[in-house]
Amino acid sequence: MSETGLRDSSLHRHLPDRLEGRGARLVKSWESLLLAVAIAIFVANSFASPYFLNAWSLSDATFNFTEKAMIAFAMAMLIIAGEIDLSVAGIVALASTAMGAAAQFEVGVPVLILVGLGTGLLCGAFNGILVTGMGLPSIVVTIGTMSLFRGISYIVLGDQAYRGYPAGFSWFGQGYVFWVISFELVLFAILALIYYVVLHRTSFGRTVYAIGNNPTGALFSGIRVARVKFVLFLLTGLMSGVAAICLTSRLGSTRPSIATAWELEVVTMVVLGGINILGGSGTIPGVVIAAFVMGLVTFGLGLLNVPGIVMSIFIGALLIGVIALPRLWTLWRQR
C-alpha cells in the first residue's frame, strides 16, 4: 500500500475548538448516514417489487449477508489493526472441502463442525505466522495463501463435488429458530454482540485501535503487537470456518469454486461500515448496518432480475465510492 504520508497531508485533520455534544456527533456519524441509506433502500425496494415486503422474503434476504458478515466482524478488527486478510474465501473453500472429505467417512455432525472450525483456525494460524512471525506484508501473503488454500481444494476435488452430508447438518444453514428467524440470523446477532463487546468494551479492543493508529507507539506502551495481530488472524480464520459451516450446510454440497470472490464482498462490507482501510478507526455497529445495506441492495436487485455479475459492478462501485466520496468532499471543502 502507499502510505507515503505525503499526500495525506492534503487531507489533514480539522481540529475544532471544542467537541460537539454527544447527540450531534451521533447524528453526524457515518453509522447514522448508513442507517439512513439502509432505510432508503428498504423503502425503494418495497416500491420496486411487490414481492419484497413479506416476512419470508425478508428472511430469505438475510441469507445474502449473514455468512459474509460473520467474516466481516473479524476482518473489521484485523483492518483496524492495520492488516488485511484476502484469503478468507480460500479458507471457506478449504474448510468446506475438509468437511466434505470428513463426511465421506460418515462421521457425526459434531465432528464435521470441529473439522470446519479446525481448518479455519489452522489457515488463520498459517497466515498469522507468516505475517507476524516472519514480518511479511499481509496483503501479498494472503494473496498467495488465497490461491494456495483454494488450490488445495482444487487438488482434492478437481471437477468433482462432495455431497452426502448427514441429515442433521442441514440445520445450520437451513434451520429456523422461531418462525422466520433463521439459525444463521440468530448466530449473526450473537456474533455481532460478542464482537461489539470485545472491540468496544475490553482492553483487548483498545489495543487493536492502538496498534492500528501507531504500531511502534503501541509496542513501546507494552502491547504485544505481534501476539494481538496473530490472535486477529486466528479469529478471521475461525470466522471463515464458521461461515464455511453455514454455507456448506445451506448449499448441501461442496465445489472448489465455493464462495468465489467473497474476499471482495467482505472487504467492501467492512469499508462500507466506516472502517478506515488504513487502520485505526471504525465500529462494529457500522459493519452490522453495512451488512444490511449490502444484503438489501443485492436482494432488491435480485428481485428485479439483475444478474449476479452485474450486481458485482454495484459492489465494486460501492467499494470505491464510499472511500472516494468523503475524500472528494474534504478536497472540495478545502478549496
Binding site: 494473496i143 488465497m146 494456495l148
Partner: protein
C-alpha cells in the same frame, strides 16, 4: 560480474535451468528448441502483463485489475471485429492499447488524486471491468468463425521462426530494459517506491509517477487483451479469470519487492519464465492441471518469505568509523 553471480537473478537463473534440467531428465523432447519456443510463446501474455505490473509494484502500488482489463479489451476488440470486419488491424491494435491505458488511468487517477489505497481501487475496478464484459456482451461468446482471418492470424503469424506474439513480448521486454534504466520516468518509478519523501525533495511528483505506472500497466493489459482473444480465437466473460494473481506471482518470484523501489526487469523475466515452464511442464510430467493454482499460491508465499530473508541485514555501511581513532 561477481556482483551478478551473487545476485538474486543469478540464483533464479540457476533455479530455472535446474527446473528445465529436471524435466529434460525424464522428457528430453521438452527442451527441444521448437518446444521451448512454444513455451515462451505461451508465457508471452504473462510476461507482458508482469512487466507492466513490475513498474506498478516498484512505485509501492499493486494492480489487481489487469486480468479484467485484458478480458474487457479483448471482448471489445472481438465484438468490433465481428460487427465490422473491415476495420484495419492497426486500428484495432491502437484501440486495444488506448482502451487499456484509459482503464489504467482510471486506477491511477483514483490513487493519485484521492489517495485511495491501490489494493482497494483495483479490487473495485477489477469487478467493475469484469462486470462490464457481461453488460456489453450479454454473456454471449464471440467464436472463431465470427472473427476475421487477419484478426486471428496476426499473433500466430510466424516471422523468422517465432510467432508475432513472441516478437511483441521480446520487443516490449527490450523496451522495458531501456525504459526503466535510461528514462527519467523509469528512474522515477524506483525513486518514488524506494523513498517517497526523498523523491518529493528531489522534485518528483509521487502521485503522478504512480499514475503513469498504472497507465503503462493498463496499456499493456489492453494490448494483451487483443493478443489473447486473437490467439485463442474466442472471447467470453471469464477469460483470464484469476490471471492477475499469476502476474503478481511472477513479479514477486522475480524479486520485485512488494514494499517498492527494488527489483529488476531481468528478475521479472525469470519469474515469468519460471511460472510459464512450470505450467507447461505439469501436463507433460503427468500432474493434473488442478495443481496449478496451489503451486502458484505456494510459489508466492515461498518467494515473499525468501525475499524478506535476503533483504535482512542488507544494510550498507556508508560511514565507516575510523579504526583506531581516539
Amino acid at each position: 560480474m561477481s556482483g551478478f553471480l551473487r545476485s538474486r537473478e543469478a540464483l533464479l537463473t540457476l533455479v530455472v535451468l535446474a527446473l528445465l534440467g529436471l524435466i529434460a531428465g525424464r522428457f528430453p523432447a521438452f527442451v527441444a528448441p521448437g518446444n521451448l519456443a512454444g513455451v515462451f510463446n505461451d508465457t508471452a501474455p504473462l510476461l507482458i502483463l508482469a512487466l507492466g505490473q513490475t513498474v506498478v509494484i516498484l512505485t509501492r502500488c499493486i494492480d489487481l485489475s489487469v486480468a479484467a482489463n485484458l478480458a474487457l479489451t479483448g471482448m471489445v476488440c472481438a465484438m468490433l471485429n465481428a460487427a465490422a470486419p473491415d476495420v484495419p488491424l492497426a486500428a484495432i491494435l491502437a484501440l486495444a492499447v488506448a482502451m487499456g491505458a484509459v482503464m489504467g488511468a482510471i486506477n491511477g487517477l483514483l490513487v493519485w488524486t484521492l489517495a485511495i489505497p491501490p489494493i482497494v481501487v483495483t479490487l473495485g475496478t477489477m469487478t467493475i471491468y469484469r462486470g462490464l464484459i457481461f453488460v456489453i456482451s450479454g454473456g454471449e461468446w464471440v467464436n472463431s468463425h465470427q472473427m476475421g482471418a487477419s484478426f486471428t492470424g496476426f499473433p500466430r503469424a510466424v516471422l523468422l521462426g517465432l510467432p508475432v506474439m513472441s516478437w511483441i513480448a521480446l520487443a516490449i521486454l527490450a523496451g522495458f530494459f531501456l525504459f526503466v534504466a535510461r528514462t527519467p520516468l523509469g528512474r522515477a518509478f524506483y525513486a518514488v517506491g524506494g523513498n517517497p519523501h526523498a523523491a518529493v525533495y528531489a522534485g518528483l511528483n509521487v502521485g503522478r509517477t504512480q499514475f503513469w505506472a498504472f497507465v503503462v500497466s493498463g496499456a499493456l493489459a489492453g494490448l494483451t487483451g487483443y493478443l489473447w482473444v486473437a490467439r485463442y480465437a474466442v472471447a467470453y466473460v471469464d477469460i483470464a479469470a484469476g490471471f492477475e494473481l499469476e502476474v503478481v506471482a511472477a513479479c514477486v518470484i522475480g524479486g520485485i519487492a512488494i514494499a517498492g523501489g527494488a527489483g529488476t526487469i531481468l528478475g521479472t523475466l525469470l519469474g515469468a519464465l519460471f511460472l510459464g515452464i512450470l505450467k507447461n511442464a505439469l501436463p507433460v510430467i503427468g500432474v493434473s492441471p488442478f495443481w496449478q493454482m496451489a503451486i502458484s499460491g505456494a510459489a508466492i508465499v515461498v518467494a515473499i518469505a525468501f525475499n524478506s530473508r535476503s533483504a535482512l541485514g542488507r544494510g550498507r555501511i556508508i560511514l565507516k568509523r575510523a579504526e583506531g581513532a581516539a
